[in-house]
Symmetry: C2
Subunit: 206 residues, 2 copies
């Protein structure tokens, strides 16, 4: 088993590294340099038709892509400690928070990143991709609004009650947001405390 | 247990109804009329802070939202027949296809629907929501492109090999796409055959 991976600040591969660290799984990493467009090489497209990282290559040569799906595969192989919930209700709520964080926060972050951020501009230009600047800017404001919404939703130490994969996924997005210039608002004090709490875990540096 | 629900063509509640039908679970339904904005009422916001359907109310009065998360809750309660995979690899691949269908197809469909579709225009106007028409139109083209991509990825009868929750989620989106004017392209013959295959299941009319 090996993980086709990219370093920080890429949020998706980091989720899998953090998840593996929480489980005590040692995952061999193969770097795919996004800045060199290695993820769009024929070699990597054969592993993942979407040309994305992370992608996990199994010992039988087949692959599983999508960060959360790789984590679910690892959870099935190594159930302890459980990070996707234990009871039916926990299983439902952990998944709910993963989806909320990704759809509410991840989607507008991605839209701002692709349409407005200076870092992605040269690629868009080189590949003839239209950027929708007004939509991107609205997405930036939406992401800030969603950070505040998340703050209001935090009722315990972690998103779904006990610590779970939802916290790792949220951390990857909140840290990526900061990297692209969208910090947690000052008044979102619960979210800031949550961020400090999750960032202190040894897995956060994975 | 009861499901706060809306009828066709709303794709998300339909997933849960189809999933329950595949499991043979009888779910009491409570209609939340989107056209009357009942999903944004104080009563429903207390069940789901995002004001969305479906939302499942458990017997203890607590709620689980997000279509796929409700399905995962039901899968944990009623494991047979398994619809999220059996082996670790199947579990990973079913989740991968759910995510791909939702992120690749569902996100642009939603962006077109919100920004361009005549049906959503009066709501946007009434609520002062800016519509990004050029982005919406690009999202429509993106959705068509993704239907063709999906066609090229279909290697067996169903998305993840055996029939799974991924097929139900994809069906809900492909049918919603048709409802908003985005049909499966003629040349996407494998996807068309898949659509016929999944639509024939009794659960499709749930």
């Amino acid at each position: 088993m090996k993980l086709y991976n990219e370093n920080m600040p890429a949020p998706n591969p980091r989720r899998v590294r953090m998840f593996a660290a929480e489980k005590g799984i040692s995952l061999p990493l193969v770097r795919v340099e996004l800045a060199k467009r290695e993820h769009k090489s024929a070699e990597h497209l054969a592993r993942n038709a979407l040309g994305q990282v992370p992608t996990l290559e199994l010992d039988d040569g087949s692959t599983i892509s999508e960060s959360v799906s790789i984590c679910r595969y690892l959870e099935a192989l190594y159930p302890a400690p459980p990070l996707f919930g234990r009871t039916p209700k926990e299983i439902g709520l952990v998944d709910m928070w993963i989806r909320r964080v990704e759809l509410q926060l991840g989607v507008p972050l991605g839209a701002y990143w692709i349409n407005c951020h200076p870092y992605t501009e040269p690629y868009a230009k080189a590949m003839g991709i239209t950027r929708f600047g007004d939509y991107g800017e609205a997405s930036r404001l939406r992401a800030i609004d969603r950070l505040e919404w998340l703050d209001g939703q935090l009722e315990s130490e972690f998103l779904a009650g006990d610590f779970s994969a939802a916290d790792l996924i949220a951390l990857s997005l909140v840290d990526f947001a900061a990297f692209i210039g969208i910090a947690i608002p000052e008044r979102a004090t619960r979210l800031r405390a949550w961020h400090e709490r999750v960032s202190k875990r040894p897995s956060a540096s994975a």
